[in-house]
Amino acid sequence: MAEVHVIGQIVGASGFPQHSLFCKWGVHTGGAWKLLSGLREGQTQVDNPQNEEMAAWSHPIDIHFATKGLQGWPKLHLQVWHQDSFGRCELYGYGFCHVPSSPGLHELQCVTWRPVGSWQDQLSQLFIGGGLQLKNSDLIYSGADRYRLHTSAMGTVHLQLGVILRHFDRYGVEC
């Protein structure tokens, strides 16, 4: 069986309207993939940058997969949340990106979006915060029912992911 190691960090995020952000992340794979070691999901710390524009999470990712096929290559999905001074959490963006398929270190910028409602929802969001969230978080990384959504763009999440592949050449796979 071929193996894939994903070793890297969720470095931080930039371009969001407020500071004090954290990120919930998870990795979704197809049926042929098996998680051998590492955490498949997690949540970063809440960071409030003093002088910079970028929130720094430096959250380590170390996952070891074994696979029998190329379908269902791992996808990393993210939810960026904002924690205000009262301790309430507000959704700031959803995003996903595929784990790179070539070995080596990759710098990724994952764009994020947020669902947008009617003008009444937007007005109440302006005054009291909160906002719409997805009922089913599978929609973050699947395209199936996306046509029903109306979203607006939010900031970007910066990732530094290193990929180590094992035995891919044994099966004749070029990457």
Partner: protein, 204 residues
Amino acid sequence: MTANPSVFLLMVNGQIESANFPEFDDLYCKYCFVYGHDWAPTSGLEEGISQITSKSRDTQQNFVWNFPIDISFKSTNPFGWPQIVVSVYGPDVFGNDVVRGYGAVHIPFAPGRHKRTIPMFVPESSSMLQKFTSWFMGRRPEFTDPKVVAQGEGREVTRVRSQGFITLSFNVVTKDMKNLGYDTTTADLQNSSVSTVTDAFYRT
């Protein structure tokens, strides 16, 4: 020469070059390595404390440590790849030694020369009163074990403030990763002369 190796080696040397902390002066740093269960250090120092350095007088206002790092690991599995955890300390206005930042980064795994600039962050007090008391008493919130910064679990309850950056540079050499079937770089780099240098370096 080993025909069927079961262990691969990772040799890292480099330095903690410099830091950029606009608000502080007179800092020193400590580093340590965090690695998984399949890894063991074979030679070199796992921890170190640097000298105390002051801000430069020019406009860049850099802190320079130029602190050497030299370590080798052996392992059977890339899971738990070593990370270097750097913690920076300095005096506050009353003269107590307080923590100014923590940061962590994985050791690069492709052989060659690498430079990494990492952000540093410090835990925040949970209330205004605690913030004032800790400033007054000189006991700021800090992690009981800096190795927490290199882990993914238990971080969701921490609130931190990020300030400052540290620049590190590494030279990485690996042995027998290709023989065990691991690909760490894309194909066009594998045919370069980097692989012959690593073969000549270790002779076991």
